[in-house]
Amino acid sequence: MNVVVLLKQVPDTKDVKIDPETNTLKREGVESIINPFDMYALEAGLRIKDQTGAKVTLMSMGPPQAAEALREALAYGADEAILLSHRAFAGSDTLATSLTLAAGVRKLGGVSLILCGKQAIDGDTAQVGPGVARHLGLPHTAFVRKIEKVAETSLIVQRMMDDGYDRLEIELPALLTVVKEINEPRVPSLKGKMRAKKIEIQTWGPEELGLNDEELGLKGSATWVTQIFAPKPRGKQMTLEGDVKEQVEKLLDFLIQDKIINIQ
C-alpha cells in the first residue's frame, strides 16, 4: 500500500502580529515549523506502515526552505519526500495549491491513501485536503479522530461532528484529514534522524507536474487578499475594584444591565 502524507511548513503563528498603530505586520523572529496538525497525519501514516508494511511518502508545496520541514519529518520514519517548489507557485490560494498538490500525487501514481492535517495554522482554512481529493476524483472525509480498521481496499474511520462523530467505511483510494485526537505522535529516534539525512528529497516544478501557467500561483487562484488590518481591540477592558464581594456585585450589575445575562 502506498500512503502519501501532505505536510506544510508554516510560520509559528503565535509570533505574528499587527501593530495596531501603524497597521503593519510585525514578526519577532518568526520560526518555521511543521504544521502541527500534519504531525498527526504523519503519525497516522506511520502506524499504517507499522501495521501493513505500507510505504509512506511525504509531499509538500512550498519555497525551497520547506525542504527542512520534509527533512525533519523524514526522521520520524517516512520513506521518501517530494517537494513541489517553483517561483510559479507563489501567490497560490487554496484552489491553486490543491490543484498543484493533486498533480504531485497524480505524478507519483499508485497512491491508496492520502493523509493530511485538518488545516494549516497560518491559513486556517481546512480547504486544501478536500480540494486535493476532488481534483483526483477521490472520496474524502474530514476531521477523522480515529482509524478503526485498515483493509487493503477500504478503511473504517470515525469522523468528528460538532455533536459527536460518524462511523463510516470509505473505499480506497481516498483522502482523510485528521484532527489532533487521532493519536500521539511518536518521538523520532536517533537512527531515524541519521537515516533521514541520507534520503534524497526530490523537487518537482510545473514541468514535472504537467501544469500550465493558467493553473498556477496567482493566475491560477480564484481569490486574493485586498487588505490586511489589525483586529479591533477588545471593548472595555475595565478592571473591577473593591473587595471580592464588591467586584462580583459590580460585575453582575454590568452584565445584567447590558442584557448579557438574565438572572432577575
Binding site: 482554512t125 460538532d162 483586529p231 478592571t239
Partner: protein
C-alpha cells in the same frame, strides 16, 4: 515573478523587511530584495511609503465575472433531523446581501423528510428552497452532498454561496469549490457587497487570529464563503412570508458513493456543545485540580451555560478534550465567556476572542488574558467564583 521593487523609488528604509510575516524581503546593498517564499500577501506593498513595491494583480487584463450568475444561496446544515442555528444566521446575513444586490435568496436543503424545514426556511427569509429530500441523504456524505450541490449550482448559477464553518460545512464547501474551480473563503467574520463591483468582500482572521484579511473572488462564480456559528445574527421569522419550493430529483447516480455511513454517534453523555452555548465558564491551570471544576460547573448552570477549559487543564486530565477551547480545541463565540485561572496564551485566545463579552479572573495582573477581557477581576478564583455563585443565588432569591 509577480512582485517588483522599483529601485529608483526604494529608499532602503526597511519598513517592508519589518512588515513581512515570512521574513523574505530584505535590504541588501541599499535596496529591498524579495527572496524565496514570498506569498504575495501584500504586507510590504501596504507599508511602503514610497510606492516602490508593486504586486502584479491580473485585474486589468481579465474580463469581469460572468454576468449570468445571480442570487445568494445558503447551504442548510442538517443533522439528525434538525437544522443547525447557523443556517438561520446565514439566512439573516444572506437576506442583507441579496437585498443589497437586488437578487433572490435561496436555500439548498439536503436531508430526509425535511418538508417542514423547507417551510420554516421560507418564513425565515428564503425566497426559494431547493429541496433534495431522500432517505439516502439522511446522513451527511461528502460525495453525495457535494455532487448534488454542484449540479444545482451549474443549473441555477448563484453568484454567492454561503455555508456554516462547521464540521460539515468545512468539508462540504471545499469539495464543491474545488469541482467548480471557484474561490472559497473560510471562517468569514464579515461579508459585505462592494457597491461598485458588486463583488462580495470577505473578511476573516488569519495567522491564528492575529491579523484580519479582506478577500475577494472577482473573476469566478459563485463566490463561496463559510461563516462560523454565532458570528452573524439569525433572521427573524415572519409567518406571512411566502416563497417557492423546488423539488430536486435525487437520482441513483447522485447517491452513488464510495463512502458508507455505518453509524451516527451523538455524544450526549456530557451534553457539551460549546458551539451553541450562550455562556461558557472556562477553567485553566489556575484551577489547580480536576475536582475544582465542580465549582465552575455550578456557576455555569446558574448562568444557563456550559464549562470550557484551556489546553493546560485538558492535558492535566482534569476535564475531557470535548471542553477544550483554543487553536487545537474548539473555537467559540458565546455571549459571555468567563475565563477562570486561565493565563491567556495566544493559542487559547484564538479560540474565544470573538466572544461578545469576556470576563477574566486571574491572580496575576499581567496575565495576557486581561488584554482581551472586557471585565477584569484580579483576584483568587477560589474566592471570586464562590462569591459569584453566592451573589447570583441571592439575586435569584434562593
Amino acid at each position: 515573478m509577480s512582485i517588483t521593487i522599483d529601485k529608483d523609488k526604494c529608499t532602503a528604509c526597511g519598513s517592508c523587511e519589518e512588515a513581512c510575516p515570512f521574513g523574505v524581503i530584505k535590504i541588501e546593498d541599499d535596496v529591498a530584495v524579495v527572496g524565496e517564499g514570498c506569498t504575495l500577501c501584500g504586507a510590504c506593498e501596504e507599508v511602503c511609503a514610497f510606492d516602490a513595491i508593486t504586486i502584479y494583480r491580473p485585474e486589468d487584463e481579465k474580463a469581469a465575472a460572468p454576468d449570468e450568475y445571480k442570487g445568494v444561496w445558503v447551504l442548510a446544515e442538517y443533522r439528525a433531523g434538525q437544522l443547525a442555528g447557523v443556517t438561520y444566521e446565514l439566512l439573516g446575513k444572506g437576506r442583507g446581501l441579496a437585498d443589497a444586490l437586488g437578487v433572490e435568496l435561496a436555500v439548498v436543503l439536503l436531508g430526509a423528510k425535511t418538508a417542514d424545514h423547507a417551510d420554516s426556511l421560507i418564513k425565515s427569509g428564503a425566497d426559494t428552497v431547493y429541496l433534495a429530500d431522500d432517505d439516502g441523504l439522511l446522513n451527511f456524505n461528502e460525495e453525495t452532498y457535494s455532487a448534488i450541490t454542484v449540479d444545482l449550482v451549474r443549473t441555477y448559477k448563484p453568484e454567492i454561496v454561503l455555508s456554516g464553518a462547521t464540521a460539515i460545512g468545512r468539508s462540504w464547501a471545499p469539495r464543491v469549490a474545488a469541482e467548480l474551480k471557484t474561490g472559497l473563503t473560510a471562517d468569514c467574520t464579515g461579508l459585505e457587497i462592494d457597491p461598485e463591483s458588486r463583488n462580495l468582500l470577505q473578511t476573516r482572521p488569519a495567522f491564528g487570529g492575529n491579523i484580519m484579511a479582506t478577500i475577494v473572488c472577482p473573476y469566478r462564480r459563485p463566490q463561496m464563503a463559510t461563516v462560523r456559528p454565532r458570528v452573524m445574527k439569525q433572521s427573524e421569522p415572519d409567518a406571512g412570508r411566502n416563497g417557492r419550493i423546488v423539488k430536486v430529483e435525487v437520482t441513483p447516480e447522485l447517491l452513488e458513493s464510495k463512502i458508507k455511513i455505518l453509524e451516527m454517534v451523538q455524544e450526549t453523555g456530557d451534553g457539551v456543545n460549546l458551539g451553541d452555548a450562550e455562556v461558557i465558564v472556562s477553567g485553566g491551570r489556575g484551577m489547580q485540580a480536576g475536582k475544582n471544576f465542580s465549582m465552575l460547573r455550578e456557576l455555569a448552570e446558574l448562568l444557563g451555560g456550559v464549562i470550557g477549559a484551556s489546553r493546560g487543564a485538558v492535558d492535566s486530565d482534569w476535564i475531557p478534550y470535548a471542553h477544550q477551547v483554543g487553536q487545537t480545541g474548539k473555537t467559540v463565540a458565546p455571549k459571555l465567556y468567563i475565563a477562570c485561572g486561565i493565563s491567556g496564551a495566544v493559542q487559547h485566545l484564538v479560540g474565544m476572542q470573538t466572544s461578545d463579552v469576556i470576563v477574566a479572573i486571574n491572580k496575576d495582573p499581567e496575565a495576557p488574558i486581561f488584554k482581551v477581557a472586557d471585565y477584569a477581576i484580579v483576584g483568587d478564583v477560589f474566592e471570586v467564583a464562590p462569591q459569584l455563585i453566592a451573589s447570583i443565588k441571592q439575586r435569584l432569591g434562593r
